[in-house]
Point group: C2
Chain length 272, copies 2
């Protein structure tokens, strides 16, 4: 395990950075097609990580001005490099803790969050902090996965055990890998109005080779990756782990099938 000031269940290796960029580009259509900000809008991207979503967001709204923050300077350095490589000009990066951001209240038109709440022990507080930073009438967009949505053929209890292992380690680190289903109540509880949640399902079988590749390189790689980040010894024995990972790959063979659902929520900060 690499030294890490800000623990993150998936780690911050080169391989993980590649996985995140691959994930973002593969899922860009499904997750981001309906997110467009108007020219001149100031948008806060909270917890941009290595900038995997940032490139897509910024390119989808070329007239908007993005401020993308992350707690990890290493991740921000990667994000900055990425943005320069892609020639994206409408993004400013800032290092900061999303619970203590150095911005004035009501200084953003919109807030965007992707794959963040699942790692927080207090996602509701994070949403309330974001609400403070929004102007009245501004929107928040939140995208999260839900590992409880993973459904596959052939089904396998070993495969479920390795997924449960990731869920449990993420829980021990304060997170919730099954938070997608909670976006509805979380955004309402945080005081947002006109909340709408839309599930975004990815289905893969061998008639869709690009989706099968996504299952391997995004989902299974993520599950496998946890083993390098956290000791799994007390949760699962080595043999079960190997069986579970093997059975997950088995679902990507010719007769296999795999389904996973992301949840996207949008809420409004109502004027008083």
């Amino acid at each position: 395990m690499e030294p890490n000031l800000h623990p993150y269940v998936h780690g911050r290796s080169d391989r993980e950075s590649e996985r995140l960029h691959y994930q973002a580009s593969r899922l860009a259509g499904l997750l981001h097609w309906d997110t467009h900000y108007l020219p001149g809008n100031r948008v806060l991207e909270a917890a941009c990580g290595v900038g995997a979503q940032t490139v897509i967001l910024a390119e989808n709204s070329p007239g908007a001005e993005f401020v993308s923050v992350d707690i990890s300077p290493e991740s921000l350095a990667r994000a900055d490099k990425r943005i320069r490589t892609e020639g994206v000009k409408n993004v400013t990066f800032r290092q900061g803790d999303i619970f203590h951001l150095p911005f004035r209240k009501e200084s953003f038109d919109h807030v965007f969050i992707c794959f963040l709440l699942e790692h927080l022990s207090n996602p509701l507080l994070a949403l309330e902090k974001m609400r403070d930073l929004l102007k009245e009438g501004g929107t928040i967009t939140v995208i999260e996965g839900d590992h409880g949505s993973a459904l596959f053929y052939p089904d396998s209890r070993y495969a479920h055990q390795v997924i449960d292992c990731l869920v449990e380690i993420q829980r021990q680190m304060g997170g919730n890998a099954m938070i997608g289903r909670e976006l509805w109540h979380l955004l309402n509880d945080a005081g947002f109005t006109e909340v709408t949640v839309s599930p975004r399902q990815v289905y893969a079988d061998s008639s869709r080779p690009e989706n099968i590749e996504g299952v391997r390189n995004i989902f299974i790689a993520m599950v496998e990756g946890v083993r390098k980040q956290a000791p799994t010894g007390s949760l699962i024995d080595a043999e079960t782990w190997e069986k579970g990972i093997r059975d997950l790959y088995r679902t990507t063979e010719k007769d296999g099938a795999f389904s996973y659902t992301f949840f996207k929520a949008v809420g409004v900060k109502e004027g008083r």
Copy 2:
């Protein structure tokens, strides 16, 4: 339990018939919008039950000629009454066992199956029989649910236990309530080509009251209904059952969320 020559996990009561018609009309858009048959086409609907899907199918393809079969004369009588009430003219009902249908080989342009395979101990054989009845170049359309896709907030192990109870009883009766994920391999194994599977997800929270009503009147009613059809004593104790049903209803309250996925598959009988 009513006397029943042809056991069916959900039974054939008036209430169940109403549930099926409600389900069909609520899900018509989601499940059937992309099924249209050309004028003059002869379409076999295998296991039409009380005609819940038949009305929708026939109205979506007014020029096609439907032959809708079911093993249960009681169900067919209900279906016939329903069709007459709706004024639908392009349907003929026939009683028969789908494994021994009195039709010539290659006598149908298309076959349509909805919520049937989940109740069969040999779904592959059923598909092969349907393939025999299809003309070359004809299509089969299959729609099935998958109870493993049920995902909800608040999550509850009791709720999962009552769902598992239905799954187990259906398994004991020879069926598979988690067959949706298997449509890809089943249609391929049965020799169909150009198979495409598309998941159809229903998501409900209180911003979508009609979907919340659907969760109550379709999914939870189905789970509750099993208790009248089959002894659950050895599978679940009364207290856990009550808790599970209560927790399922709990997901339909103001802050709750519920998601379920149906799978629709289409395959072609290739010319030799």
